[in-house]
């Protein structure tokens, strides 16, 4: 009897550590961001209830509103460009790699390698490679007779953000390629064979067989990319500082949040503002949730189709 009672409770002993750590250090902080955003804060001390004042400030008052819109725009550009690169070049490379063989497998290892590097190392590495005077990038351009295109890539308002996005793509692209490749391996070869026997050109096979079957995978990767890109922080912090120099040209929600929440050391030690920071975090949370909902519905559809 006693033993049976114990047996009925065992699962809770097994579950307890995970449940406690996960709830206290992940779920509770994520949810209390909402609560925090409705309060007035003095430094890190909570004061009175503030209603929607923090949101009003972030959304409609300068300089916050201006920064928010700027950062949001840069995040959208960041995602759009990354998405475009990975669903054109990335997908193309994945389809080619799918043929197998030792040479192609070696190439895949090369594509994926930068993904194992820390973003801090990636940032510093490219900071030096893109250095206007001594960096290898401008020297390669000069050597190729394209010296007139050489420029201070990270200091120029027009090129700073695209440069960061390309650096990020350099590290990231191996991931979508590999996931696409796994998706491609899941498509039965008979379907391709059948289409070919029916006289389809390689492009038609890709367009009418491969692409529709790969669509859920592409959707899934895009959602992950969206979440990842809307949380971009490290590269910009390391390469351009916490205020996204030059003059906020590379500022994103991640850096805007960091400055607001933990203080901006670059402009004379402004202290962190918990209320405003939480409001920004909640807005980011909602964006990510919207993407997740789309992602989950894509997954559902995949289950139905398979």
């Amino acid at each position: 009897m006693l033993q049976r009672l114990f047996r009925r409770r065992t699962q809770w002993l097994f579950l307890a550590p995970a449940l406690i750590v996960y709830t206290v250090f992940m779920v509770y902080p994520l949810l209390s961001s909402f609560g925090y955003s409705f309060f007035e804060w003095d430094g890190y001390i909570r004061k009175g209830f503030a209603g929607l004042a923090n949101y009003q400030k972030v959304l409609f008052e300068r300089p916050y509103s201006e920064r928010l819109v700027g950062a949001l725009k840069h995040n959208v550009v960041f995602f759009t460009l990354t998405f475009t690169i990975q669903t054109t070049l990335g997908l193309f490379l994945a389809v080619m790699l799918n043929r197998g063989g030792r040479f192609l497998r070696a190439c895949q290892v090369a594509y994926f390698a930068p993904y194992t590097l820390s973003l801090v190392v990636v940032g510093f590495l490219w900071l030096l490679l893109l250095n206007p005077t001594w960096g290898q990038v401008n020297k390669i351009l000069a050597a190729a007779g394209l010296g007139r295109f050489a420029r201070p890539w990270l200091g120029d308002m027009a090129t700073a953000l695209p440069a960061i996005i390309l650096v990020n793509a350099w590290r990231w692209l191996g991931f979508p390629i590999t996931v696409y490749l796994a998706g491609l391996k899941g498509i039965p070869e008979e379907l391709h064979e059948a289409a070919r026997v029916d006289g389809a050109t390689p492009w038609q096979v890709f367009r009418n067989v491969t692409l529709p079957l790969l669509a859920p995978t592409i959707g899934m990767v895009s959602v992950l990319t969206f979440i990842y890109d809307f949380n971009a922080f490290e590269l910009i912090f390391v390469m351009q500082g916490s205020n996204g120099s030059p003059f906020y040209a590379t500022d994103v929600l991640g850096t805007f949040f960091y400055r607001t929440a933990f203080g901006d050391s670059t402009t004379g030690g402004e202290v962190g503002q918990v209320g405003l920071g939480s409001a920004i975090a909640v807005l980011m949370f909602l964006l990510v949730c919207a993407a997740s909902v789309i992602g989950v519905s894509l997954m559902r559809r995949q289950e139905v189709e398979m």
Binding site: F25, A113, S118, T178
Partner: protein, 308 residues
Amino acid sequence: MTVNAATAGADSSKAFKAPKAARASRGPKPFKASKAQGLGLWALHSFIGLYALVVSYPLFLMVITAFKTTREIFFAPFALPSKWSLANFAVVWQRAEFPVYMKNSLLVTGTSVTLIACIASLAAYALARYRFRGNAALYVYFLAGLMVPIRLGVLPLFLLMRDLGLLDTHYSLVLTYVASGMPMSVFILTGFFRALPQELEFAARIDGCTEFQVFYRVMLPLVRPALATVMLINFVPLWNDFFFPLIFLRSDSLKTIPLGMTVFFGQYETDWGVVFAGMLLASVPLLVLYLLMSQQFIKGLTAGAVKG
């Protein structure tokens, strides 16, 4: 679901072997063997190889530059070092706090990954093998964390750590990492535990095992591959994490490698050889591990995405 995906992968690789064998070797399919198409294939392969070169070149530059003198870096940036000198590494290892950062990274990441594996496998086992009210809801509760990055809760987490007196300690990092590792780890392990046959459990109970012994002696060894995947998936991002050390740590003696890199970069900014040597040292553990077991890395790190 997890297991389905895993077995589906195995099936398809089997399915792939047959047509491959029929084609005798990889490469052009029989009816594609015309000269023009062979040329096209050659062009495609060179494009793929070229892109691999473009991707690898910055890594290659990082390696050779770490062995050069500053003068050589500036005046012969693309040449191989005239003498493979270890002077830069000596500076990194002796003058900077590098060994301390390395030790901290090993300690924090090692502890976190071990704890994740222990705690998540216990929880996953309970979710997979016990029937009780609230099981499905708890599973969804864990999964809900899959899509939400924990850093969006960093402000409350920061204040929580302050109230617990854990700011500027390694505990703050370990607790955060273990919590953030739960969703993916529980998800993967639950799938594997569910696939085990029930007879094993019964047999162990009849032999007089306690519930914990059933788990530890019989079931856990059977999901060892999944456990390895879980440890790998968590190890890489935690080893590379910069965000939480930046927020939680102040003391230089506690910093992990990614955060220590920024201190180090500030000190030696003009001494490129030393900076490159530092970057190489910081990346070498994972890069070597990756080159040794790239297939496991690639499979493991994309497992979450494919399955979830």
